[in-house]
Symmetry: C2
Subunit: 298 residues, 2 copies
């Protein structure tokens, strides 16, 4: 059974990783894709973005995974990155197409921004656009283009204060979500922004590392065998991917901001920091690529 052939329960699922050392997503991606059991349901469009500095390398496939050599490639290629954004879609109506495949990418302020969305925003077409225009026809890409235009027009340049950026993203997201469901992953190459509307979970994996078992598979991994004590990885997913780790559920309207593998900011549905954000340890990102906390090919 192929990696991308077993998603059943949801129309789409999100997976994000934010790490302090370059990490591959094979274990979590396997969990994401086996979601719902080995029923053989086809995944019909999927994409994954791996950041390398300010640039994102994005692999998109609008085709059913059963016909996709790219799916097979990524199942066996442990590409490492500090930030990974993935999206998997199960077809419900009509064919998928490349322009409608998440994650979407745009350049703003000399860095790639990526966006993957789970939900529906029926009034998205009414959101004001500016320099960013949709290429495809999804509400999701329209929301993304609108959000970037808000940032560009209100900030002018990438702000020195992360709080300024976080507050603006949170505020714009609340406004957009008034008219729909807005679970999303967003990255600017520096941080991973994860917004919960109906379903989003995260976990921080750090020392002491334990064992984890994928929720829908018998695949186990002992992270202690694969990591160094300083490794730290934040994993965000539509639902918990493992059954023996403690995942944190997002509240409706909550925005998490991850940096260096830690939760740096958490903004609640009223725009207030809700106090749950962990103390942010501002140690630099690791430079060595010798070990990776998520790095196992089951």
């Amino acid at each position: 059974m192929g990696l991308f052939e077993r998603l059943t329960n949801d129309v789409c699922e999100l997976l994000g990783l934010d790490c302090n050392t370059p990490t591959d997503a094979v274990f979590s991606f396997t969990g994401l894709c086996s979601r719902g059991g080995k029923t053989g349901a086809h995944v019909d469009g999927w994409g994954i973005a791996f950041y390398d500095g300010r640039a994102a390398r994005v692999f998109l496939d609008p085709q059913p995974a059963v016909r996709s050599p790219l799916a097979e490639l990524l199942r066996t290629w442990p590409l490492r990155s500090l930030i990974i954004v993935a999206h998997i879609r199960r077809r419900t109506r009509g064919p998928t197409s490349l322009p409608n495949t998440h994650p979407f990418t745009r350049e703003l302020w000399g860095r790639h921004w990526t966006f993957a969305h789970n939900g529906t925003v029926p009034g998205a077409r009414r959101l004001k656009l500016g320099r960013f225009r949709p290429i495809g026809t999804t509400d999701s890409e329209h929301v993304f283009c609108h959000l970037l235009e808000v940032l560009r027009s209100e900030l002018g340049d990438y702000p020195r204060s992360p709080r300024t950026l976080v507050d603006l993203i949170a505020k714009a997201s609340r406004r957009i979500a008034n008219d729909g469901t807005l679970n999303y992953l967003l990255s600017d190459s520096h941080r991973l922004y994860a917004r919960s509307s109906t379903s989003l979970f995260h976990i921080i994996r750090q020392a002491p590392f334990g064992q984890a078992t994928l929720s829908d598979d018998e695949v186990k991994v002992n992270f202690a065998d694969l990591t160094t004590p300083r490794d730290r990885v934040a994993v965000v997913a539509t639902r918990p991917l493992t059954r023996d780790e403690r995942w944190t559920a997002g509240n409706p309207g909550e925005l998490w901001v991850f940096e260096n593998g830690a939760l740096r900011f958490s903004v609640d549905s009223r725009g207030k920091q809700d106090g749950r954000a962990q103390a942010f340890q501002a140690r630099g990102r690791a430079r060595d690529q010798s070990r990776a906390a998520d790095g196992v090919s089951p």
Copy 2:
């Protein structure tokens, strides 16, 4: 010997295809990559963009091809597209990186633009930028961002008249090339723009189809076996890829514009149409994907 391991003579090579029916690039890409004979020289960074409607699916690999599973994937996966832009680089100084890997991509007017460059523009940093900013550090990406800013600021929106767009691209390119070498491939998802400064060739393959043999290999293909009479493919490359076809050399400063597999415009170094452009047959792009003129996996 891998597909991407045999480039020797040039720092980089360009390959573009513009077709009236979805076509794969395996034959020409094999020719591009075997350029210079089977000497085992490593290709150190390469990328290829396949258009699907207004969106481009871009595969980038800054790694030596000898370690690249992606190179092996694309050698055997006949992805079909109406417009393909590829770039291969041989390392001369220092490592390549993802942000510096061609082709570059930006969204303008709701369509992906892609750009691959062969040459050097020493004064590129002095070219004015606007809404598009480089992510990497190459002169090539700076030129691309500048060119798009010229189009955006002078045209406002995608012009109905192709001549307006072509003339502006030609004019801006002449100005940029005053300060460097500007062989490039550019696409807006609708047309393929190919500019020659020092070395660029093209060929139009159409009925009656003959046989072709790759210049540096013994790989032959009889296009008549692989095409329908209505298929037409324009192939552009840094140097002729085959030894038994008649390739047209670009004059210094010349800009070719291909559409539906035909040469629609040709602008010379003084901005005049030079009369060599073929009569453009404005028949629509083919919808069927049953046959492809370049579609053979040697």
